[in-house]
């Protein structure tokens, strides 16, 4: 009833090519941004912000990164966690070398390092695809994770082998380190995610996104149309690894606040993000957010939410129940809609447009 595009006439190609051509969508987006920036930091508890919202944002960014590679360009990767690790460790090294430079700039710069490594491991993608490429990226995962443990230079030769996140100020406010409040860290994460999502959306809606999807859907036709496969695939690897790298740096510096990072960036994390992308929806930026919310925040919310609404469960039992519920939900969603939550959302919107009529 409220979701109608009746009367919204597009008179220019620019209006027709807008990412959100329907006014209600734009209002909805503005509302979500308003809540994210102006309501959650003031209403949400420290626990909610640091254990639900920040992980959600970090995983969303990583899922966008993988979605660009797997969903848009059709290259399966199992090395996501490794590229995130590259981001985290290079951010550590960079902030050791340049302690005076703004940490946000360094987080973005470590994304660039990750992009370079991603391109390197993306080189075989011209010759191999599908499962074989997945195995090649698995090599990246194991090799890089080995480096995180065995190359002491990466963690500044400290005895524990952990990343020690130093305190860094931005405009006089501590952003990383023990003194940074959850709200500040949340704001930094949110700002990075919003800006980078906007960039990703611009990329996938333009020439570059079309060449990515062309390579995904029919690489021979794309090649004969003059799209250079190697350049296109490597660009996808670079952009994807950049996003993963930034997500990894955010993970250690703004969420974990340091620690034994080599274990974090294991194959388990790679799989987790792959599941987020598949459940959220391949080839959809919105789906990346859905997938991250579903797989990263839901377990936490259920674990602490179930006792909070009066279900008497001990901590361990709650965890088991959560595992079972989330597992069952994943299977349910994949049966109901194999194209992911994003498609479900699209169908819902389509229904809403015509409601109360069937079509």
């Amino acid at each position: 009833m409220f979701y109608r595009e009746t009367g919204q006439f597009k008179t220019t190609y620019q209006a027709d090519m807008a990412v959100f051509p329907i006014r209600q969508d734009r209002i909805g987006l503005a509302f979500i941004l308003l809540v994210a920036f102006a309501v959650i930091p003031f209403v949400g508890s420290d626990f909610f912000i640091s254990s639900v919202m920040i992980p959600f944002l970090v995983f969303s960014l990583a899922a966008i990164g993988l979605n660009i590679l797997t969903g848009y360009t059709g290259l399966i990767s199992l090395g996501t966690a490794a590229f995130m690790g590259v981001g985290a460790y290079s951010c550590y090294k960079l902030t050791t070398f340049f302690p005076g430079i703004n940490i946000i700039v360094l987080i973005l710069a470590s994304g660039l390092v990750s992009a370079a490594i991603g391109v390197l491991f993306g080189l075989p993608s011209l010759r191999i695809k599908g499962f074989y490429l997945a195995v090649a990226t698995l090599a990246a995962q194991f090799f890089l994770q080995w480096c995180f443990v065995r190359v002491p230079w990466l963690f500044n030769y400290n005895a524990s082998g952990a990343i020690e996140v130093p305190q860094r100020l931005v405009f006089g406010v501590p952003v990383t380190g023990a003194l940074a409040t959850p709200e500040t860290r949340y704001f930094v994460c949110l700002a990075l995610v919003v800006v980078l999502t906007w960039f990703a959306s611009n990329l996938v809606h333009g020439r570059i996104g079309r060449s990515w999807m062309a390579v995904r859907d029919m690489d021979i036709a794309a090649e004969l149309m003059g799209i250079r496969l190697l350049n296109t695939k490597l660009l996808a690897f670079a952009v994807s690894s950049f996003y993963c790298g930034v997500a990894g740096a955010m993970m250690i510096f703004l969420w974990y606040g340091g620690g034994e990072a080599a274990d974090v960036f294991s194959i388990r994390l790679s799989f987790n993000i792959l599941f987020m992308v598949i459940i959220g929806g391949l080839g959809s930026l919105l789906g990346s957010f859905f997938g991250a919310a579903f797989l990263a925040s839901l377990p936490t919310i259920m674990k602490f939410g179930l006792p909070a609404i009066g279900v008497p469960l001990s901590g361990a039992t709650a965890e088991h129940v959560t595992f079972m519920l989330v597992g069952a939900l994943i299977i349910l969603f994949l049966i109901v809609e194999p194209h992911g939550l994003a498609r479900l959302w699209q169908i819902g919107k389509q229904k809403l447009r015509t409601w109360p009529f069937p079509y």
Binding site: T12, N202, G206, D217, M218, I220, E223, M225, I227
Partner: protein, 264 residues
Amino acid sequence: MRAPDAVAAGDTLLAVDNVSLRFGGVKAISDVSFDIRKGEIRAIIGPNGAGKTSMLNCINGFYHPQEGRITFKGETRRRMRPYVAASQGIARTFQNVALFKGMSTLDNIMAGRTLKMNRGFFWQLLRYGPAMAEEIAHRKVVEEIIDFLQIEHIRKVPVGKLPYGLQKRVELARALAMEPELLLLDEPMAGMNLEEKEDMCRFILDVNQQYGTTIALIEHDMGVVMDLSDRVVVLEYGRKIADGTPDEVKRDPRVIDAYLGVAH
């Protein structure tokens, strides 16, 4: 719509000289020569496995013939990458529809303009200013093609959901979006019903006459081939057995023997 070219109408646009192509021990094409003149519709016919599609693949650089030369717009080449062929103005449709299934009709055709778009990565990140202006300029060209082929109503539909006949038409649109000088059509009418075939014939003639595009056509429907094409080359087992106007080819005893068959 197309850029003015160096080759005048009636001159040779593409010449194939003594081309041979082998896959291991299999000779797909042996010693074939023919030419395509600017502005004509040239048909390539022959029984299954005669090497027609391989010939097209050689022309647009996907296969590299072991022997012989291909001259396009006066430039001779032995090995060429598809990217170079495409940027020189050779476009192509496929025997089995090779559209980008997950994308809308509009995006498919816009993808055909990729080579003509050159705003760099950082403008693309912003999708604003020059990048947006470029996008709009190309959208205008694409809309003209959409009008021309009468597919306005399926602009926003994912091509995977379209019926076969329309998919073939979208594929033609995507090839036209490259503003080719030489358009290679690989069985554009395969699997179509009579009405769809008639539409497609009309579009091919219109493309040829309105845009002056030179067309090389592979087709099995003899009625279509004889009506549409200016000249026909006949292949059999990778060799050329006849070359000439449709009337000459139709009377050639070797062609009748190999391909057309005798009326009983």
